[in-house]
């Protein structure tokens, strides 16, 4: 026997917005990601040239050398829009937070010998400044870039770097007994210690890049793939007994890194695959910035480690279709 409830007929006239339907096909329901991102940035009929850069419109395809017939090709495989991004990060952070509680309760950092604490303050804690530089770069790509598909994940990434800088800052405070002295020492290392100067120069050199897609490549394949990867994953042996609590406290960073790479790899791959010219341009940038990152890492990690790390980035770049 069936029970039939009488309802008013709600036949939709259309499934989604016109600009979305033109991309996914008429009559198809759109995802939240598609409605949040596709064709959102204005492309035409701008009123005034920016006072601060009158050679371009605020949104201008000419701000990078690479040319895309459609800047909504490099989509985000994670399909992040604001809600899903924040929920993902809140979840990642919740488990990182549990680790902080655990490490604090067991006094895993507090009980470390002073020499190990000093090592961490000098070899790990200064990386928060690198995250801050990365935050500036990702905000810059968000403001300068073209098309919401690529620019909206950039502000998410900027938020991630700020969050990670603050996680590292908290580790520093754990190490220095919540006085801030360790953070000062770490900053001094960042500013003056020979081992960090290559890295600081590298990030400063990216801060003045004007071509936003070059900046994207420099950040993803140079700064992320070479420097961050080594700092977080290449120092376990040196950190010794501290490496376990540190990897617990930086669980967010490793989750983030897998997540970010999924997106940034796919963006680079799609943009390079667009044309022979793009491939050549992106390859040249990748080559240049991986090499620069290798030089930057050398004083910190030694020539062999720096080369091995850079080669790993070169391999990755080749897998993305670049010629290195």
């Amino acid at each position: 026997m069936t029970v039939e409830i009488k309802t008013i007929d709600f036949e939709p006239k259309r499934q989604t917005f016109g600009h979305v339907a033109r991309r996914i096909g008429e009559g198809k329901p759109a995802t939240r990601y598609q409605e949040a991102v596709l064709d959102v940035q204005a492309t035409a009929n701008f009123h005034y040239k920016p006072l601060w850069e009158p050679e371009y419109w605020a949104y201008d395809t000419a701000k990078t050398k690479v040319v895309m017939q459609d800047w909504y090709k490099p989509l985000d495989p994670r399909q992040y829009y604001y809600a899903t991004y924040n929920i993902s990060r809140a979840n990642m952070n919740q488990s990182n937070e549990r680790n902080f509680t655990f490490v604090e309760d067991k006094e895993l950092l507090e009980k470390l010998p002073q020499a190990t604490k000093d090592l961490l303050i000098n070899r790990l804690v200064p990386v928060r400044h690198l995250h801050w530089g990365a935050n500036m770069n990702m905000s810059e790509i968000c403001q300068r870039g073209y098309g919401t598909a690529i620019t909206s994940p950039c502000i998410f990434s900027a938020g991630d770097h700020l969050g990670m800088a603050q996680i590292i800052g908290r580790i520093g405070l754990e190490l220095d007994g919540q006085t801030g002295d360790g953070l000062e020492t770490a900053k001094d290392a960042w500013m003056n210690d020979a081992s960090w100067q290559g890295i600081r120069k590298l990030i400063e050199d990216t801060l003045v890049l004007k071509d936003w897609f070059e900046l994207f490549v420099a950040q993803a394949l140079g700064v992320n793939a070479v420097i961050f990867d080594y700092i977080y994953n290449g120092q376990d042996e040196a950190f010794g007994a501290a490496s376990l609590p540190i990897s617990m406290l930086t669980e967010f960073v490793s989750d983030w890194s897998k997540d970010e790479v999924k997106w940034s790899d796919s963006v680079i791959k799609v943009v390079a695959a667009e044309s022979v010219e793009n491939k050549a341009t992106v390859s040249a940038w990748a080559k240049q910035w991986i090499a620069a990152a290798q030089d930057a890492l050398t004083p910190f990690a030694g020539a062999d480690n720096a080369k091995a790390q850079a080669d790993k980035a070169r391999e990755k770049a080749k897998k993305l279709g670049l010629e290195i």
Partner: protein
């Protein structure tokens, strides 16, 4: 052993401004190339007081919580066809105006705050601006998701993105934000952070959200509540910016005053659309525009500017003119849309008797004298089958881009015109406020993409009205014209089991 543990404020400082460093491999001026040319002098960025101390982990946590709740409501609304509970389908036109006119500005704000969040030299304001950039992206996206459900049933919503960049009246909000985006980082912060978010937000955001609440639009009002805490953060940032600039150097005062004057006037002009929405488009009225102006500008703005007096800042120039105009703008704007209903992407109607009486009561000084007779005449013409349309393309103000339909201060029977000759050409304005803005930066405002000029120059699909509507992707016969007789009315009546004649009264 006594440890010198730090307080929360100090801890926050370590986790934020402690991150920054003075670059030495590249010059600071190359890293921050845009924060000097406006002439603003900052002697000490460390004097910045963080208006709210939010670390990124707390940001994610709060915002994720709000998003979970909001999307649960949006989903339930769609599932239960919550659109049935709005006061009347005329209300949907408010959402059309909001999505085509305001939501794209949220997106622009997102990109603009990414710019200032990268390019102001101080870390404190940079982090606050980045968070606002994230928030504004949220506002755009949640608005699109909220109104998406209405789009499935009602016309005039689907092409909001395309229309925002093209349709004649939408160039008013678009040029407003393009103007802010084309300004330097400090002017942007004053324009959007202070003038828009602080001085005027209660006259934009609040009326739309209260309108939603009064008219049974549960999903939009839930968005409004959810965005409230974002907005209060934005307001504290806006007020902190202006105080900081004024405290930093006495030379900043005249620059900031000029921006406050300019952006007050620019904002006031955009708000004319809200005035019309409140007085004419909401089936269930919240309050009149004039009342809103008195509460939120005259009173609240008055005490704000009294507070800022100690910095030497004065009430914006022409605030008195705007206050006088509060008697008129909603009536004059709705009259423009009524006449040009064939070229608008939302429906119009003449106010019925009850509505006219409400307007008479709310505008005792002006409505019966100047506006009621006109509405009664137009309603009568409509009844006689001679509905009034204006087929001539209007002249637009070079600055605010509104058709020249506003009247002279002190004389509501006289259309207000101003003009300036610059570089061998004549430019036309609706008001002294708009003329002053042009005269101060003619190179900027001479560039305006004026929809009517563009039509005449053949850049909008062709010379005839149907050509232009086509180019707007405006579905003639569905998106435009009067509510009565529209497909919106039809679908609404079919749900409500009403015969069309009955709905038309």
């Amino acid at each position: 052993m006594a440890v010198k543990k730090m307080g929360l404020k100090q801890k926050y400082a370590h986790l934020t401004r402690g991150l920054d460093w003075e670059t030495s491999y590249q010059k600071m001026d190359d890293v921050f190339p845009y924060d000097q040319f406006e002439g603003i002098k900052i002697t000490d960025w460390s004097k910045w007081e963080d208006p709210f101390r939010l670390t990124m982990d707390s940001y994610w946590k709060f915002q994720a919580e709000k998003e979970r709740k909001l999307y649960a409501v949006i989903d339930a609304f769609a599932q239960n066809n919550g659109q049935l509970n709005v006061s009347d389908a005329r209300y949907i036109n408010v959402l059309k105006l909001f999505l085509t006119g305001v939501s794209p500005l949220e997106y622009q704000a997102h990109r603009g705050f990414a710019f200032t969040g990268r390019h102001m030299r101080g870390v404190g304001p940079r982090i606050a601006a980045q968070m606002q950039s994230l928030d504004e992206l949220r506002h755009f996206q949640t608005q699109a998701h909220t109104i998406s459900h209405y789009n499935k049933f009602f016309d005039g919503i689907a092409e909001f993105q395309h229309m925002h960049d093209r349709v004649w009246y939408l160039s008013v909000p678009k040029s407003f934000f393009d103007d802010a985006r084309a300004s330097g980082p400090f002017e942007f912060m004053i324009a959007i952070g202070f003038a828009f978010e602080y001085v005027l937000t209660n006259l934009l955001f609040v009326p739309f959200m209260s309108g939603a609440a009064y008219n049974g639009d549960m999903s939009t009002v839930t968005f409004g509540f959810s965005a409230q805490s974002d907005e209060s953060r934005h307001m504290t940032l806006g007020i902190e910016v202006i105080k900081f600039l004024l405290e930093q150097h006495p030379d900043n005062l005249p620059i900031v005053q000029k921006w406050v004057d300019k952006w007050f006037w620019r904002g006031f002009k955009v708000l004319g659309l809200v005035a019309m929405m409140m007085d004419y488009m909401l089936p269930k009225k919240v309050m009149s525009w004039k009342e809103a102006w008195e509460i939120y500008f005259t009173e609240a703005g008055g005490s704000l500017f009294t507070d800022l007096e100690r910095y030497g800042l004065k009430v914006p120039k022409y605030a008195d003119v705007a206050t006088e105009m509060a008697e008129h703008i909603s009536h004059q704007n709705w009259a423009v849309f009524y006449q040009y209903t064939h070229a608008a992407a939302f429906h119009t109607w003449t106010p019925d008797k009850e509505h006219l009486d409400w307007l008479s009561e709310k505008y005792p000084n002006t409505f019966d004298k100047y506006y009621r007779p006109r509405w009664e005449m137009w309603a009568k013409m409509d009844e006689e089958g001679k509905r009034f349309y204006n087929m001539a393309l209007p002249q637009l103000c070079q600055t605010c881009q509104i058709p020249m339909a506003y009247t002279e201060p002190g004389d509501p029977t006289q259309i207000s015109f101003r003009c300036t000759e610059w570089n061998g050409e004549m430019y036309h304005f609706c008001s002294d406020g708009c003329k002053d803005i042009f005269d101060d930066e003619p190179e900027k405002y001479a560039q305006s993409w004026l929809p009517v000029h563009q039509i005449f120059q053949g850049n909008c699909g062709g010379p005839t009205v149907p050509d232009v509507l086509n180019w707007y992707r405006l579905n003639a016969g569905a998106d435009n014209m009067d509510y009565v007789g529209s497909p919106d009315e039809q679908i609404w009546n079919s749900w409500k089991g009403k015969a069309p004649a009955e709905a038309a009264e």
